[in-house]
């Protein structure tokens, strides 16, 4: 008996055509930013998510929101910092529980960052693993082979961990399940120049594709 006949018999028993190809939708965890959660439903677990954008585009603010939400859920988080750019003071202000954050300072080496992220994912137990390549020159980040990204994706698959890569441009290409492209819409200043002027906040547009639909939620990251 052929496979096609068996499939037809099985479908006739079920009463409706069965989708054999599609994989189950991954579980999504809140990102900590209401606008993003309402638009894309949070970040997928067991997948690689890329947050990309130029300097001052609000990608690190989004990342701190993610870390704050994950640590508030009592999850252990790891930040692999390729360029040693993480500010613990900023993170504490954003609500990140530093006691639940493991910070790996790679001292300007993307290769070390990749290796450390791989070890941490293989070790297991983390709810969120972030690889911060935000200040890594695009040429260096592009040199990370697709095979390495594929290895990371495979390592995080079927685990409850979220793997997030932050960079200036998308590097993982098809290995990433979700790409959030950040762009600064506006910066808000208050007060008269040279008197009491303050940098108040930035408005960030986070473009992404969710269920084959383009969405671009806007959130505000406040400075004070």
């Amino acid at each position: 008996m052929g496979a096609a006949v068996l499939l037809k018999q099985f479908e006739s028993m079920l009463g409706e055509p069965f989708d054999w190809q599609s994989r189950p939708e991954p579980e999504r965890a809140p990102s900590g930013i209401a606008e993003i959660d309402s638009a894309i439903g949070g970040l997928p677990r067991g997948c690689l998510t890329e947050i990309v954008g130029p300097a001052s585009s609000g990608r690190t603010s989004l990342l701190l929101g993610l870390l704050a939400a994950a640590t508030a859920r009592q999850e252990a988080c790891a930040l692999v910092d390729a360029e040693d750019a993480f500010s613990p003071h900023s993170a504490a202000e954003a609500g990140v529980q530093l006691g639940r954050l493991l910070w790996v300072r790679c001292g300007h080496s993307a290769e070390h960052a990749l290796k450390a992220a791989d070890l941490l994912i293989q070790g297991g137990g983390f709810g969120l693993v972030v690889m911060d390549l935000g200040d890594t020159p695009p040429a260096t980040a592009r040199r990370i082979s697709l095979a390495s990204w594929f290895r990371l994706r495979r390592a995080v698959e079927h685990t409850p961990a979220m793997l997030v890569s932050l960079a200036r441009q998308s590097n993982a290409r098809t290995c990433a399940s979700l790409v959030i492209e950040c762009g600064r819409k506006a910066a808000t200043w208050s007060g008269a120049r040279s008197v009491s002027r303050l940098l108040r906040s930035i408005e960030v547009r986070a473009q992404s594709t969710h269920r084959r639909k383009q969405c671009s939620p806007v959130f505000t990251a406040r400075a004070i």
Partner: protein, 414 residues
């Protein structure tokens, strides 16, 4: 067969030389189990002679008695001088002339017995048990049993001090770490087995290597939780020795572990999974091997106003206490440039108008500042700075500052 020493000197140490089961019966009395020593020394009198000889050698002045039960041995050692050997079954006859005071009865009971004219063991042993039970109760019956040399109680041995140490003397010096790993595995496995048999684990592993040059190389590994994972211990030691290799070939290895109770904890059903402590320690050791010591850990803010003041804690990422901070509003992050980037800043009306640094270059489009801060002026490490938040024509927002050493870009807002 039991032996009892009653006298002065280090009685416990002497008894320990002959038996692992030693009871500290009193400040001047120890009792120990000598069953099985006949296989080494021969007859009981030979065992007694060996103990007496050793006592003389170590300077112990004590009466020695050997009997079939510990209580008879104690009574004999306390009552007779020199070495007493009580034949099995003749305890009552042997102890008969001893005074009842040796059994330390309660003063009221002793007074009653005195009034009855019962002063010796044989007089007490001859009393009918039913009558004693009626008139003196269980304490009287116990005294009669001891007087007849029929005591049958369990000894309360001294707990042996646990030392988990092992060493290997090498015939030839070992230079490479790979062959050393086999020796380390042998030591670790042996110690772990000894710990496991006592239902213990360890949270500290000490390694002392004697070098060919005469020096010593010492390492100490501390684990966040007690464990018995020998593979993890070996890998941690290997990574540690790779990072801190001994200066010369090794001729002697000594290893000691700290015995502690294993940690028994059950995580809740709804508690998020955390990294397994020993596995995490191993992962961190592997990461430390290539990123460097002190570059992996949990950041801890310091209690100071000095900008970017923090220290790295070696603790794991699952040890944080819950905080009640509102994390729902996104906060604008600052990305720090480490090391700080020296900048050349053009001023117009006392305010930055053009900034140039490594990777940063542009005309100042908007700015806020200066914000003047200073601190630690009461110490030698004083600091002061004027900060500006600037929007540059390259599209990014930066924090720059001016201090006596010049202008610097601290980082970018992102």
């Amino acid at each position: 067969m039991f032996a009892c020493l009653h006298g002065t000197g280090n009685l416990t140490a002497l008894a320990m030389e002959f038996s692992p089961i030693v009871e500290a019966t009193g400040p001047d009395t120890v009792t120990f189990d000598v069953s099985g020593l006949d296989r080494i020394f021969g007859l009981p009198q030979d065992v007694a002679a060996a103990i007496a000889r050793r006592a003389r050698e170590v300077g112990v002045k004590a009466n020695l008695a050997l009997a079939g039960n510990p209580d008879a041995a104690i009574c004999a050692a306390r009552g007779f001088r020199g070495v007493s050997l009580i034949p099995q079954g003749d305890e009552g006859k042997f102890l008969a002339p001893l005074p009842l005071g040796l059994l330390s009865p309660a003063p009221q009971l002793l007074e009653t017995l005195e009034r009855w004219g019962i002063r010796r063991f044989h007089e007490m042993a001859a009393l009918p048990p039913l009558g004693i039970a009626e008139r003196l109760g269980p304490e009287g019956l116990r005294l009669r049993e001891l007087a007849r040399g029929e005591g049958d109680r369990k000894m309360l041995p001294i707990a042996e001090a646990l030392h988990f140490e092992d060493e290997i003397e090498l015939d030839y010096p070992v230079e490479l770490l790979e062959p050393l790993a086999f020796l380390l595995a042998r030591l670790i496995n042996g110690l772990a087995t000894r710990l496991a048999t006592r239902a213990l684990a360890t949270d500290e592993l000490r390694l002392r290597l004697k070098l060919e040059t005469g020096g010593a190389h010492e390492r100490c590994l501390r684990l966040p939780v007690p464990s018995l994972d020998t593979r993890a211990f070996l890998k941690l030691l290997q990574l540690d020795l790779e990072a801190n290799p001994p200066a010369a070939p090794i001729v002697h290895l000594w290893m000691g572990v700290n015995p502690v109770k294993p940690q028994a904890a059950q995580s809740g059903l709804f508690v998020p999974a955390a990294p397994e402590p020993v596995k995490l320690e191993l992962t961190l050791a592997r990461i430390r091997a290539f990123v460097g010591e002190g570059r992996v850990g949990t950041p801890e803010l310091l209690d100071t106003h000095r900008p970017d003041a923090f220290r790295m804690q070696k603790g794991t990422a699952a040890s944080g206490k819950p905080q009640c901070k509102n994390a729902s509003v996104p906060f604008m992050a600052l990305r720090i440039f480490r090391p700080r980037r020296a900048a050349r800043v053009a001023l117009a009306s006392g305010q930055p108008s053009f900034v140039m640094a490594d990777g940063v270059r542009g005309k100042v489009l908007d700015l806020a500042g200066p914000w003047r801060t200073s601190g630690d002026w009461w110490t030698l490490d004083a600091w002061q700075r004027d900060e500006w938040d600037i929007a540059l024509s390259d599209g990014a927002l930066y924090r720059i500052y001016c201090e006596p050493a010049g202008w610097f870009v601290e980082g970018s807002y992102d």
